[in-house]
Amino acid sequence: MKDINRRDFLKTAAIGVSMSVFGTKFLKASDESPSGYRIGILVDTDVCVGCRHCEWACKVAHNIPTASLESYSDNSLFKEYRRLDAASLTVVNEFENEKNPSLPVYVKKQCMHCEKPACVSACIVGALSKLEDGSVVWDTKKCIGCRYCMVACQFQIPTFDYDKPIDPQIRKCDLCYDRRKTEKLPACVSICPTEALLFGERDEILRVAKNRIKRKPDVYINHIYGEQEIGGTTWMYIASKSFDNLKMPPLGNSPAPGTSESIQHGIFAYFVPPVTLYAILGTIMWLTKRRSNENKENRIEFEQEKKGVDT
């Protein structure tokens, strides 16, 4: 199968974006995946050159104060492994390339936008929701700042403004929800100079990823990170070395909220178990009362005990 070029992608992407925004419906984590348009983004770590333009574009798109784009060419930052924080919704890290030491591997990190997001399942007030196009977004009007989404997320993505007493936010990639309203691509995708980020329909993106691995089996390992991981993710990665060595958590294929939701739904299935428990306790209460009225043993014992204490 032919690799699809960038322009085609942008076209389908634009259509997809408009579809996704106009037909936005909020889904619950446990719902079946709908058959409609789902965004997929491929990170080809072999193509990424570590320019960190995506970091800059992301900050600009989300109104986060940032230095000029030129300052991002400073490579000394790569010395230490960086993670997301309230002011960085995406970061790029450098990893050693054993096959070709002069060309290190760069891995961009951001919210993976899981197919079955644990954060959406966990959120106490439903402030996090999964849109029909697959993106996971956060609603500042609902969030109470309990940080349970951070406990739930297997990728450790959501961050919190620990230093703000009023209106601290849970921050994570929202796939540029505001930009997509005007049919624009996410800022990181549109600025990427090397086409290391590929935006499109998820199935299509998966096909491209599989193709690239097939064409260059000597370069890529045969694993698309995010295809199956905890039920699949919107962002997917291909790389020349094991993802364990790129600090991507080794996760199984079962969705993160699975066990928790089945326990929850078991305890609360149509309120039958709590109501049954109420009825059982009520019956015990009534029966034991009758018994204690019929033979006053308890009472007599009680009186005797009282006398015993009194004397």
Partner: protein
């Protein structure tokens, strides 16, 4: 035996110490609300939950379990013999849950939105269920406490000055509440037990979603069952411990007979809990993590020992019948459950990327200790105002006559 307000002097050296602890907590509380969570806590983006959720909320809810276990014993199973323990247990639960709610307000980033779960629902969320159940249960506990207020104040209302005109209507209201509640109290009592069962277990479900971030020694799908069983197990030991401390503090004769009888019920419950806990360990083959003898393994061993020792102690008749024996055994169970909650929420939480292992900051510990201190102070004040603690019937003919005259059944 009848519950009466305690007549004792309020201030002791201990109260002085507790006041200092409470004030110290208040200072850090102010910093938290002025400069944000980051200024006081050691929490970060990798460890979002710490001491306040693990101890103030999770352990707090567990240690307030005496309220529903005693209600189930006395009201649902009609073991009237134990009636004396109901009021102190109910009051402890009411106070405990109030402080749990306060701790939640302190811990959540947007405290002014704490009411959101009441109107914004997410049925998939274990935290939502815990939150709603705790809110409703708190209301139930306040309703269950009303009879104690009416008993204290009916025909004894005495506002002075401008408020004199209120005396009659308030008294009428109290009488009305007393009458209505004596007819409907059973609804609230059963509801309280059901709600407790639900949220005590759902507190365990909370950490299930953390998946691999939880140490396998603790991460198990039966966490909700383990949480429920351990909460039931710690209910009576809390009542015993409290009763003995209150007796010592107020120079009352301890009700050792009632407490010992209560004590005999504890060993089987701990036994069931331990059976599930150890069975789970063997089914999931997690004993190999114990054999690593790293810090997590030692915490697990400590938790197990703290529950196993009182299991043996509570089996011995001699120990359960002796005051110091039953006190020490109870303290073991309480520490065991406390450590279990700390382990589940703090020690076991070890995500893939975690550069700094969390340890609570001085500020976090100060606020937790401050809350505990304040709780004890409020407890002491309340048992002096309201008829909560059961005492022997010397020179209190008036009270007996009163309760004898009440035609309706007295629940609480």
């Amino acid at each position: 035996m009848i519950s009466r307000q305690i007549k004792h002097k309020f201030f002791t050296p201990w109260i002085f110490v507790l006041t200092i602890l409470a004030l110290n907590g208040l200072v850090f509380l102010a910093i938290r609300f002025i400069y944000g969570l980051g200024a006081v806590t050691n929490l970060d983006n990798y460890t979002p939950w710490g001491l306040w959720i693990g101890v103030d909320v999770a352990a707090g809810v567990a240690l307030a379990a005496g309220g529903f276990t005693s209600a189930a014993l006395v009201h649902i199973m009609h073991r009237e013999y134990y009636k004396a323990i109901v009021r102190p247990a109910l009051f402890t639960a009411m106070l405990g849950y109030t402080f749990v709610a306060l701790a939640v307000v302190v811990d959540i980033g947007r405290f002014y939105y704490v009411w959101h779960p009441i109107v914004m629902w997410n049925g998939n969320s274990a935290l939502f269920e815990v939150g709603i159940c705790i809110i409703v249960y708190m209301i139930v506990l306040y309703i269950e406490f009303i009879p104690i207020v009416t008993e204290r104040f009916i025909n004894k209302i005495n506002f002075h000055g401008l408020l004199t005109f209120l005396n009659k209507p308030v008294n009428g209201l109290l009488k009305y509440l007393d009458k209505k509640l004596s007819l409907t109290m059973f609804i609230f009592i059963i509801a309280g037990v059901v709600l407790s069962t639900l949220h005590q277990s759902s507190l365990g479900t909370l950490m299930v979603i953390a998946g691999q971030k939880m140490h396998p020694l603790w991460q198990t799908p039966i966490l909700p069952l383990l949480f429920l069983l351990s909460a039931i197990a710690v209910g009576f030991p809390m009542i015993i411990c409290e009763s003995l401390i209150a007796s010592r503090s107020f120079n009352l004769k301890p009700e050792i007979k009632t407490l010992s009888k209560l004590g005999f019920m504890i060993a089987p419950i701990i036994g069931i809990y331990l059976a599930f806990k150890i069975g789970d360990m063997f089914i999931r083959e997690t004993f190999r993590y114990v054999l690593l003898f790293d810090s997590a393994a030692w915490m697990f061993i400590a938790e197990m020992v703290l529950m196993f020792v009182p299991f043996i102690l509570f089996l011995s008749k001699k120990i359960v019948n002796s005051m110091s024996g039953i006190f020490i055994a109870s303290v073991f169970v309480i520490s065991g459950v406390l450590l279990n909650r700390i382990n589940n929420f703090i020690v076991a939480y070890n995500p893939f990327f975690n550069p700094v292992k969390y340890f609570p900051s001085f500020g976090e510990i100060s606020i937790t200790l401050g809350f505990v201190a304040l709780l004890v102070i409020v407890y002491r004040a309340f048992v002096m105002i309201f008829p909560i603690i059961p005492q022997e019937n010397n020179n209190s003919n008036q009270n007996i006559a009163e309760s004898g005259n009440t035609k309706s059944k007295k629940w609480i």
